[in-house]
Amino acid sequence: MITIKELTEKPELFTAGHRACAGCGPAIALRQIMKALRGPTIVTEATGCMEVVSTIYPYTAWNVPWVHTAFETAAANASGIEAALKVLKRKKRITHEHVDVIALAGDGGTYDIGIQALSGAAERGHDFLYVLYDNEGYMNTGIQRSGGTPLGASTTTSPAGTVIPGKTQHKKPIADIMVAHDIPYVATASIGYWQDLMAKVRKGLEVEGPAFLHVMAPCPRGWRSDTAKTMEISRLAVETCVFPLWEAVNGEYGLSPISKAIALKPDRKKPVEVYLKMQRRFAHLFQPKFQHIIKEIQDDTDKRWNRLLKKCNIPQVAVSKT
């Protein structure tokens, strides 16, 4: 596992000077991802926050070849790049022994508008790593709900009103959907645990065929959270099992060390309330009339966690107290 010292010696391929907000989770994610590369790499990115903040012409934050075409095209772009690299290498028109391909997209570009292209590229088996940076909403366009926005969150298209308590639907289990594509590597990661994240980026690049990495990356603007607490919130998402860390290698699920420790000692599992409290997008849930939603979130979190434990062949020790 990489150390801090080694990290400082790695070149900054996603450089300072981009226009991301203070405390931006996705920007931290990109920096960590780009420090985990193993060699020559081409990056393609969907329309979204990170595309917008990093490439305002004539400036760029990218020290690798990078291309953006549209919102729903990250995986299709990667398909084209990978196909081109393969044939150009065969025809000896490029000299690199191997070039890695990374597709980056937010939750809107993955759960919603980009899922068709992603599913197609996974089925075709292109050799690329798809990284979803999930800030749980269309933050770039002003904080609208996506298929990745969790239950109860207030967004500008699922506002907490006097009658409706924010988003009324659950988050789509996107990483499980990708496991169901029977691709060689799927994992979840959090910017709060950078060593785990970077190790997973590397694994995703190393496997032959499609790899999918789901990175939880808080957005202080959209989550209405303290910009200084991005890392703390990221860790709490894992510690509450709202966003457990796991990987599925060739379809075999296994918990990552942080979440495994919680599985083995369930009293370490924190109630979701502590996670929700730090984000004002959930503030309305703490009114008496909406408090049942918190219980619903806890129940859903427990249900998903127990389901995950089963997939990982870990006996369920106890459920968390609410």
Partner: protein, 409 residues
């Protein structure tokens, strides 16, 4: 240079596309099947399956991804091709603009078909008329032979380092795509030499260093960035500049190919048939020109001075050629295989009428919307149009500016 000896083989329009692509050393084909384009992808899949081409064939899950993947393959340095029709082109619409804006020299065959609703799989030009303003060069073929020749030329045009502009080759669905013709084909090595290996123009990176325009880890470039009001306008203007130099390159490629093959299509931009001394002229696109030429022959045998002007490059629009051909005529009719609903005539009429505004003299010009959804355009209908033109030429009066030819009223 002597004309190369060629063999004649039976090919329909779609097969002519696939055959030309096979010979053009294409690196990546990303495509999705749609009637009446399907034969292109089917034949090409066979070439791949039989090891006849060294091409990565990416059989994508939608036309949107077909063009996205062709675009990024092209930006990675590959020669890229795709093909579509109708709803597929409509689904691609977003990426049609992106491809031109990224200056990716993708070549695309469009087997023209009507747009829904009601759903209809047959020929008209509604699909591609929605892409006129997208920044692609548009070549239009009259027959399968021209389809074959134009695809080969398209790679040379699109990839010219001064141009870097995508090219679409239009062929009429079924009338061309599914009709068998005798097509003369050049030997493989001759085509390969003609298209050559893709060259990359040099551009400045952020440090001002000149680097090849492609996604290359040795020379990292950022492509498709966010372009705000301070630069976007200039980049769109550059596309227009490229279109201004396109005629020179289209002509050069057309003439060079003519020397090799013995085949040319008018001057490369317009194909004027008996137009010089004509008094009444129709203007059309695609396969309808074949029938119209036959009608012109019949009229000429009766001493009627009729002609037909077929436009081969709708983009860039050959303004001067069209103007010179039409400005001294007594009456002109545009044959429009699509309609601009509520726009007083079809899009092609708007193009031609707009050109004539700048002419020295202004012949009466009328529009006939015909053949929507594959409705036939038989010689009798075209004869009626010329009859109308004779009347207009005689009286100088236009009774109906826009009419529908061959429709039940």
């Amino acid at each position: 240079m002597a004309i190369i000896e060629q063999k004649t083989i039976p090919l329909n329009g779609d097969e002519a596309v696939a055959y030309a692509v096979k010979q053009s050393d294409v690196d990546v084909v990303a495509a999705y099947p749609i009637t009446p384009q399907t034969i292109i992808v089917e034949r090409f899949s066979e070439y791949v399956a039989n090891g006849e081409v060294d091409t990565e064939f990416v059989c994508v899950e939608s036309e949107h991804s077909a063009l996205a993947a062709s675009l990024t393959a092209s930006l990675t340095g590959a020669r890229a091709f795709t093909a579509t029709a109708s709803a597929g082109l409509a689904l691609m619409h977003e990426m049609v603009y992106v491809t031109a804006g990224c200056r990716a020299p993708v070549v695309m065959a469009v087997t023209n078909r009507a747009l829904s609703a009601p759903i209809n799989i047959h020929c008209d030009h509604s699909d591609v008329m929605a892409e006129r303003d997208s920044g692609w060069i548009q070549l239009w073929a009259e027959n399968a032979q021209e389809v074959y020749d134009s695809i080969i030329q398209a790679f040379r045009i699109a990839e010219h380092p001064d141009l870097m502009t995508p090219v679409m080759v239009n062929l009429d669905g079924f009338f061309l795509s599914h009709t068998l013709e005798n097509v003369q084909v050049l030997p493989d090595n001759v085509v390969r030499k003609f298209v050559g290996i893709r060259q990359y123009p040099l551009v400045s990176d952020t440090q001002g260093k000149k680097v090849p325009f492609k996604l290359d880890p040795d020379f990292p470039l950022t492509m498709g960035p966010l372009d705000l009001p301070d630069y976007y306008f200039e980049h769109k203007r550059q596309q227009e500049e490229a279109m201004h130099i396109a005629p020179k390159i289209i002509k050069q490629v057309h003439d060079e190919y003519a020397k090799l093959s013995g085949r040319s299509y008018g001057n490369g931009f317009v194909d004027a048939y008996n137009v010089d001394d004509a008094e009444i002229v129709t203007v059309c696109l695609g396969s309808t020109a074949g029938t119209t030429k036959t009608v012109v022959d019949q009229l000429r045998s009766k001493g009627i001075k009729a002609g037909v002007l077929r436009v081969r490059t709708l983009r860039p629009l050959p303004v001067e050629d069209i103007m010179r051909a039409l400005e001294n005529k007594k009456a002109v009719a545009v044959l429009d295989r699509s309609n601009s609903v509520g726009g007083q005539g079809g899009p092609f009429f708007h193009e031609i009428r707009h050109v004539l505004y700048g002419a020295q003299s202004h012949p009466p010009i009328v529009d006939y919307v015909y053949g929507l959804g594959g409705r036939d355009m038989p010689p009798a209908l075209i004869q009626n149009i010329y009859k109308d033109l004779e009347e207009i030429a005689k009286t100088g009066k236009v009774k109906n500016l826009v009419q529908f030819a061959g429709v039940r009223e």
